[in-house]
Structures are given as structure tokens and as C-alpha cells.
């Protein structure tokens, strides 16, 4: 997969969020976005995922323009801000409801994804009873379970303990090695540096690449 961002700007209610952003990303790499709150990291992720459209410029996925040639990237897994699920269903049932839409994976794949993030597939608890960390793990599982070509993860290690962070980092590397293009943000600069192949600094709407640590 190749993502090309050409002269993209985004303005919301008169406020410039992103200005003339140019990027060219390819599969099999982890791209980290770093920057202060409100700098435009999440907005850039939303643009790449097709959730919003640029005010000017274009986002191309394998040469096809998002918003014109397609609504969303053809194969994308998302975790943006809060993971959202049905409160009265178990984690497994929630993932199955999503998996049944595309029918690309079986319930065994869903169970494996749950295990990969450290959740018990047969846990009888409803989602509303989950701790913050468990909700976050379920969100990561939803993003990766269908083995998408593009994975967009906004703060995937939020609310996780050290062991959980290591598990999620290993998972993200595994997805990268599989060939997925991973875009992620993380408030912990050390984790972001350690995990990313390329780190980009987002500041006041401008995006610049810096060398990974």
C-alpha cells in the first residue's frame, strides 16, 4: 500500500488545522506522529483514514483519491480516540458483529485477535464492565483483527500497564512485518521513537519528518 498526501490543508470553522502537508508513505513501515495536543495529529489520521476530507489538496491510496474514487481506504483498521463498542455485549460478541460485516475472518480469527491483545475470548463480562485498559485492548483488537493493509492507531497504549504496552508494541511490529502500513501517535515519546521507522513532528498544522531515535 502507498499513501500520498499532496498539498493537503484542512480548515475547520475558519481555523487552520493542517497547512500544505506533503507525505509519501509505503507499506511495511511504522510512521509515528508526534506533537502537542491540538497540533493536528488526529486530524491528519482522520484525513488518511477518509473520515474527513481535505479543504484543499488530495490524499491518494495506491493512486486513487480518497473522497472521490472511494469513501475509505479499501483495507483499514482504526483506533481513533475512544474505542466504541456496544455496552451490553461481550468483547467477543462486539468484534464478531464487526467481523460479520466483511466476513473476511472467522470467529477463530476473532478469538486469536483477542488473545493477541491479552483479553480472554470467553470472558463473559459485558463491555460496560471492562476497565479502561481492557477497552483499549479491545479497540486495538478491532483495528488489527482483519489484517488490514492500513492501520491507524491514535494513542494505542493509553491506560495500559507496562506489560500491556509491551504486548501492544510487539503486536504493532508484527503487523508492520506482515506488510501493513501503520500510522500511530503516542504521548510517550520514548515508546514512539522505539516503535516507529519514521517519526513526523506535527506542529501548528505543519508536518515535518525527523530521524527516529
Amino acid at each position: 500500500m502507498e499513501i500520498t498526501v499532496n498539498h493537503v490543508s484542512k480548515t475547520i470553522k475558519g481555523a487552520s488545522i493542517l497547512e500544505d502537508v506533503d507525505l509519501s508513505w509505503t507499506g511495511g513501515k511504522i510512521y509515528g506522529l508526534q506533537g502537542p495536543n491540538g497540533s493536528g495529529k488526529t486530524m491528519l489520521m482522520r484525513l488518511i483514514a477518509g473520515l474527513i476530507r481535505p479543504t484543499s489538496g488530495e490524499v491518494l491510496i495506491d493512486g486513487r483519491e480518497l473522497g472521490r474514487d472511494m469513501d475509505f481506504p479499501p483495507s483499514v483498521g482504526l483506533l481513533i480516540e475512544n474505542p466504541g463498542f456496544l455496552p451490553n455485549h461481550t468483547g467477543f460478541r462486539n468484534l464478531m458483529l464487526l467481523a460479520e460485516i466483511k466476513k473476511r475472518i472467522t470467529d477463530a480469527d476473532v478469538r486469536k485477535a483477542l488473545g493477541d491483545v491479552g483479553l480472554a475470548p470467553n470472558d463473559p463480562r459485558k463491555y460496560r464492565k471492562y476497565s479502561l485498559g481492557m477497552k483499549q485492548r479491545l479497540g486495538v483488537a478491532a483495528a488489527i483483527m482483519e489484517r488490514p493493509e492500513l492501520i491507524v492507531l491514535d494513542e494505542p497504549t493509553n491506560a495500559l500497564d507496562d506489560k500491556g504496552v509491551e504486548r501492544i508494541c510487539a503486536l504493532i511490529r508484527r503487523e508492520r512485518d506482515r506488510g501493513a502500513l501503520v500510522v500511530l501517535t503516542c504521548h510517550d515519546a520514548a515508546i514512539l521513537d522505539r516503535l516507529s521507522d519514521e517519526v513526523y513532528t506535527v506542529s501548528e498544522g505543519h508536518v515535518e519528518r525527523r530521524a527516529a531515535g
Partner: protein, 281 residues
């Protein structure tokens, strides 16, 4: 359509759906109790009636006591007011909640904006229709255990007359009429539930979304009542009252069907604008 099955499952497997059904059935039960009392009072007359064929000579029949036709029933009055809320309860609020929780993003990226919206609209329509129509159907069946299901007597019962929805069928094949009316109520409920989409994700609480169809239909009812009283038209145009087979004024087939289509189109167009055209910020 990939997500339709999932949306339909969610729409019919949630506590609000069950609550709407339960409330609707309780209201329908009020009418059944009223019918029971009427039947008990009139039992000697019913038993002594000299039936001419299957027609009740003086007019006592299931088909003028069941809920959509019985205009003097408390159950009918209550139902006529709350049905838009019942229609919106099962799933009308789902777009708002799923947008706020982030779940809508997950389903949208898997299906595409338009397909996801259509699936959600159909699920809202079907669940709203079921919540409104099932109590009416159960009321018919429960009342049938109490009241004689003989043909209504046109000489005695004149609330449904010329110009009313399928009036000829009502007096000749009332069971068919009753089942068709259940279908009409299903469509009315579904179309009213779709009006929830007009709010989009702008409301703060789901209860606000659930009250939108009710508020719209109440306002329309007020406007149409004023217009009707001033004699500008002689038909029942208020969608709120059109859920009854015997509204204040004649309800010809084209008025009923046009109302359903207009409500459905309004909900769908409003939803399309809110859901498909807007960004998933």
C-alpha cells in the same frame, strides 16, 4: 448489503426495543380490558342476537372495538399520542450514540458511508415499525378472544364510511382490512422512526433524539387541526392521527400512502444529509 444483517440484529436485540414493545403492548392491553368490560355487559344481548349470516344485526363486533378503530377507548387515545415515541425508542437513537462512542467509524470504514447509512435507516425503519405494529396486531388477536368477530354492520356503525381507507373492504372482509391496517401501522411507525435522523449527531442525549418524531408530529398535528377547523380541507392530514383507522376526518388511501412516503423521504433525505454528506469528525 454487508452491514444490514448486523444493523437489524442490533436494532431488534436491545433493551429499548423490548421496552418499546412492552409499553406498546401494555397500552394495547388497556383497550383489551375495556373491550372485556363491554363484552361482559353485552353478553346477554350477544347471545340472544339473531345473526343474519355472519353480520351482527345491531353492530357489536371485534372490528369496531379493536384499538385503531375504537375512538372512545382510553387505550386508543393513549396510543395515538405515544406511538411516535414507541417508534423512535428501539433504534432511532443509535446513530447518535454510535457516533459519540466511535462505533459508527468502525462500521463505516468496513462498509462505506452510503451503505452504512442505508443499512442503519432500514434497521431504524423496521424496528420502529415492529414496535408500533406488534401491539396493534396483538390487540386484534387478544380482542378476538373476547369479542365476536362478525362483520361490522354498516347500518349501525358509520365511523368508517365512504372516503375512508379501504372502507369497502372493512365491511366485506374485515380480517383482511385489519391485517392490511397492521401493515399500514408498520409503515407509519417505520417512517416516523426515520425522522430521528434529522437530528444527526447534534443532540447531547439520546432521549432528545427519541422525542424528535413526536415533536415533529405534534407540531404538524397542531397546524393541521387549525387548518381543518377553518375548513381549508376536509381530509385527515395529521400523521399523528393517521395511525388510527378512524381519524377525525376521512383518510383515503392516497393520503395515508402519501403521508408515509413523505415522512420516509424526509427522514431519509435528512439522514443522508447528516450522515453521508457530513464528515465523521
Amino acid at each position: 448489503m454487508k452491514s444490514l444483517k448486523t444493523e437489524l440484529w442490533k436494532a431488534t436485540h436491545n433493551p429499548m426495543f423490548y421496552a418499546a414493545l412492552a409499553i406498546g403492548c401494555l397500552i394495547a392491553l388497556v383497550n383489551v380490558f375495556e373491550n372485556k368490560m363491554t363484552a361482559d355487559q353485552l353478553r346477554p344481548l350477544i347471545l340472544s342476537e339473531d345473526h343474519v349470516g355472519s353480520r351482527s344485526p345491531w353492530g357489536f363486533s371485534l372490528f369496531f372495538l379493536w384499538l385503531p378503530v375504537n375512538t372512545v377507548s382510553y387505550g386508543t387515545t393513549l396510543y395515538c399520542v405515544v406511538w411516535p415515541i414507541l417508534a423512535a425508542m428501539p433504534y432511532g437513537w443509535s446513530y447518535l450514540r454510535e457516533r459519540k462512542s466511535g462505533l459508527y467509524l468502525q462500521t463505516s470504514v468496513r462498509t462505506g458511508r452510503m451503505e452504512n447509512f442505508v443499512a442503519k435507516y432500514v434497521a431504524v425503519f423496521v424496528s420502529g415499525g415492529i414496535a408500533v405494529a406488534v401491539p396493534i396486531l396483538l390487540n386484534l388477536l387478544a380482542s378476538a378472544m373476547i369479542c365476536p368477530y362478525v362483520l361490522p354492520n354498516i347500518m349501525r356503525y358509520v365511523q368508517i364510511g365512504d372516503g375512508y381507507f379501504l372502507s369497502e373492504l372493512y365491511f366485506t372482509a374485515p380480517w383482511a382490512y385489519a391485517l392490511i391496517w397492521c401493515g399500514v401501522v408498520f409503515l407509519m411507525g417505520g417512517a416516523a422512526a426515520g425522522l430521528c435522523f434529522l437530528v444527526g449527531a447534534g443532540a447531547r442525549l439520546r432521549v432528545m433524539t427519541m422525542l424528535v418524531p413526536f415533536a415533529i408530529l405534534m407540531v404538524l398535528d397542531g397546524i393541521y387541526s387549525v387548518v381543518y377547523e377553518r375548513g381549508f380541507h376536509a381530509l385527515e392530514l395529521s400523521p399523528l392521527r393517521l395511525v388510527l383507522a378512524v381519524p377525525n376526518a376521512p383518510n383515503p388511501e392516497w393520503v395515508v400512502l402519501a403521508t408515509i412516503v413523505l415522512m420516509a423521504l424526509t427522514g431519509f433525505a435528512g439522514g443522508y444529509w447528516q450522515v453521508v454528506r457530513h464528515e465523521l469528525v
